[in-house]
């Protein structure tokens, strides 16, 4: 199978044609040899995006999302590689579940899926899970996302044992004794009478993990950083040579806790939306390289799990289909970062943190790519999403950077219907 994408701008290159042969980027060939010629209409071809923090819900919660629908959403968002968190049912804490996820992902064929294993059995924060066997089965990291590893002694063991197998550890940082509220603790939570979760809850656990990583001289990756204190501590730790990497999500640099004022549960997630000064600190962290990557923390929920009282509503929002457009519109269009930096954050850096080897566009590399329209504004419409979840706070937002086509290994995984 030979494909030509013509009439395009190629990211970071002066080329205007892309040649794909047998699933790989290839040398030029004549147009009459091509099985398909795609007219990119002047849009930009990027390497396929990489998201190292998503929840695909399968096995166990197929009513929220399946691997097939989640990866279809990923492709629509321009992603060709995603890493899925282990809080499924059963929990992804053993090699059999890992293999099952990989099999389903291959069947769906929408996106490369790299499973993340639970660090402890059943995410119960007591005994270590079989990290080595899971690594053999294909995990690329371990995490107890959603159930932060609560004590320093256990976190130390997870970091130490994972380092034997060269498995990155991703921790969701929230000290639960300070962080059980339904939104950020502050003047908004006080005014609307919702129990708050403090920035101190996140900062305390980030500081603990940084101290352990430095003490043990092992790497640690901090999930979805949302606080000014977190950004500052990670920046300082990096300057000292601590092996720390960090991620944040589009909602932490586009929204604040003021959005919760009307008890709209599509603004409820953990960590919670913070105040403006924290939002600005996250942007600063993205700018200066303190935060290495943008992830979505894509968390589909059923309507019935969100259509309830604020405190009873499930945490999380879907994000795969809005991530690039939000990031492009709010970070690049505004001049805060360059387009090159955005692709570092959404492709090269996450790929290298988990050693996925993605993002290459040289001859012989897997033809993972996405074509984005950077010129025309579009309205983000929740009803057009391919995820099963409808829990997005961005419905109706005017954005730039709409995906036109995504290709994984030379195969079209998404094409916008005109």
């Amino acid at each position: 199978m030979k494909t030509i994408i013509k009439n395009c701008k190629v990211f970071n290159s002066d080329k205007d044609v892309v040649y794909v042969n047998d699933g790989k980027f290839s040398e030029a060939f004549a147009e009459n040899e091509a099985d398909e010629v795609i007219d990119a209409k002047g849009n930009t071809v990027f390497p396929g995006l990489v998201d190292i923090h998503v929840h695909l819900r399968e096995p166990g919660y197929e009513y929220r999302e399946t691997i097939a629908t989640g990866t279809a959403a990923a492709a629509r968002g321009g992603f060709t590689s995603v890493c899925c968190m282990p809080n499924t049912l059963p929990v992804c804490d053993n090699a059999a579940v890992v293999s099952g996820i990989l099999k389903k992902a291959a069947e769906a064929g929408n996106c490369r899926v790299y499973p993340i294993g639970a660090a402890t059995k059943d995410i119960e924060n007591t005994e270590l899970a079989e990290l080595g066997l899971m690594k053999e089965a294909g995990i690329v990291a371990v995490s107890n996302d959603g159930k932060p590893i609560p004590n320093a002694g256990l976190m130390r063991k997870v970091l130490e044992y994972s380092s034997d197998f060269d498995i990155p550890v991703l921790n969701h940082c929230e000290e639960k004794s300070l962080g059980t509220g339904a939104m950020n603790e502050g003047e908004v939570s006080t005014a609307i009478g919702i129990r708050g979760s403090s920035t101190a809850a996140e900062d305390i656990m980030i500081s603990r993990d940084l101290i352990l990583a430095e003490y043990l001289n092992v790497p640690v990756h901090i999930c979805h950083v949302s606080t000014m204190g977190g950004v500052r501590m990670i920046r300082e730790a990096k300057a000292r040579g601590v092996k720390v990497t960090a991620e944040t999500c589009p909602h932490y640099f586009t929204l604040t806790d003021a959005c919760c004022e009307n008890y709209d549960t599509n603004f409820k997630m953990h960590p919670p939306l913070r105040t403006e000064e924290h939002r600005l600190a996250v942007i600063e962290g993205l700018k200066d390289g303190t935060i290495d990557c943008i992830v979505t923390d894509h968390a589909p929920h059923h309507q019935d799990e969100k259509d309830v009282e604020f405190s009873n509503a499930n945490n999380g929002i879907v994000g795969l289909e809005s991530s690039f457009a939000l990031s492009y519109t709010y970070l690049v269009k505004t001049g805060i970062i360059t387009l090159e930096k955005l692709i570092d954050l959404m492709c090269y850096n996450p790929s290298s943190i988990l050693k996925l080897g993605r993002g290459g566009m040289n001859v012989g590399d897997d033809a993972d790519l996405t074509i984005m329209d950077l010129e025309n504004e579009f309205t983000f419409d929740k009803n057009k999403m391919l995820t099963k979840g409808r829990n997005t706070p961005f419905d109706g937002w005017k954005l730039f950077g709409e995906t036109q086509l995504t290709m994984m290994g030379g195969k079209k995984t998404y094409e916008k219907l005109c």
Binding site: G186, T190, A191, I192, R195, G196, Y263, E309, F310, S311
Partner: protein, 309 residues
């Protein structure tokens, strides 16, 4: 005449003019309560349902009498003994009640924002009778009626509120309502029960009971839930009553004609010594009467709006 919104969700949603209209109407309603024939026809042919997910004797009774004095058909639903207990969602329950032709749903719920989450999904008017730690607007209105009967204006008046501010929807509603009418609210309580950022609601956080009560025109005590002890919010009743209660000595620091209020039910000897509860300055019993009057006014004005549409 009437209210701008279909619902009464909180003092946040009311304008100063609407607050004054409710208080003026309540003054008239008080005449009905004190008359021999407690019957008006303002709600004749209308139906009012109380939907309580939290136990409450006095608020519920107060609403029930208010609607009965005005001639409505009324029904009561409690969280226990109905489909609510069987796990039906709040929205489904509200829609069911709505479809039975209910005009007004009076709702109490342990979760903040619960009435807001149903109000714009149903046709009936929703009256918030207390939602979590958020608001309890009719309590604030009855407190304000009690003040209004003694003040010519709220402008520049000092109101002191002492106790468990963190968990109190009464404080939030009073702070918002009183600020809208130009009064100065001071609050004080254990730091463990003082929510972060409360000063952004326009209240002053005092440094002691004395500092809070000094020169007050009205003093309000708040109920302390004794089970808060278990979550380490305060160590003992003895310690609480020694350092945080409104004692007769403290009350002397207020203005000479100041009066004492409490939303009830009161833990005698904890937040208020019994001597204070029963003292000449106490208007606590009158607040109960005013509660019915204010609720009659709210129901009347909401119905007036419905009738005008």
């Amino acid at each position: 005449m009437g209210l701008k919104s279909k619902d009464l969700l909180g003092m946040k949603q009311l304008t100063p003019e609407e607050i004054m209209e409710i208080l003026d109407t309540a003054k008239t309603m008080k005449l009905v309560i004190s008359s021999a024939n407690k019957k008006t026809s303002h709600l004749q042919g209308k139906s009012v349902v109380t939907l309580f997910y939290e136990n409450s004797t006095r608020t519920r009774l107060s609403f029930e009498l208010a609607s009965k004095y005005m001639g409505s058909a009324s029904a009561n639903i409690s969280a226990s003994g109905s489909s609510v207990a069987k796990g039906e969602s709040l929205l489904d329950t509200a829609r069911t009640i709505d479809m039975m032709g209910t005009d007004i749903i009076i709702m109490r719920h342990p979760q903040s924002g619960a009435p807001h989450s149903i109000a714009n999904r149903i046709k009936a008017s929703v009256v918030n009778a207390g939602d979590g730690m958020n608001e309890h607007p009719t309590q604030a209105l009855l407190d304000m009626l009690t003040m209004y009967e003694r003040f010519d204006t709220f402008e520049g008046k000092n109101i002191a509120i002492c106790g468990d501010v963190y968990h109190s929807r009464v404080v939030r509603s009073n702070a918002i309502g009183l600020a809208k009418l130009g009064a100065h609210v001071s609050v004080y309580g254990p730091r463990t029960m003082m929510p972060i950022g409360i000063e952004k609601m326009g209240v002053r956080v005092a440094s002691s009971v004395a500092d809070c009560v000094k020169d007050a025109d009205a003093v309000m005590g708040l109920r302390v839930q004794l089970e808060r002890q278990k979550s380490s919010l305060f160590p003992s009743v003895a310690e609480y009553s020694k350092f945080y209660a409104i004692t007769p000595e403290m009350l002397k620091l207020a203005k000479p004609d100041a009066f004492l209020m409490h939303p009830g039910p009161c833990n005698h000897g904890v937040e208020l010594p019994t001597a204070v509860y029963d003292c000449d300055q106490s208007v606590i019993n009158e607040q109960v009467t005013n509660g019915v009057a204010v609720r009659m006014a709210v129901l009347y004005l909401l119905m007036a709006r419905r009738n005008n549409l």
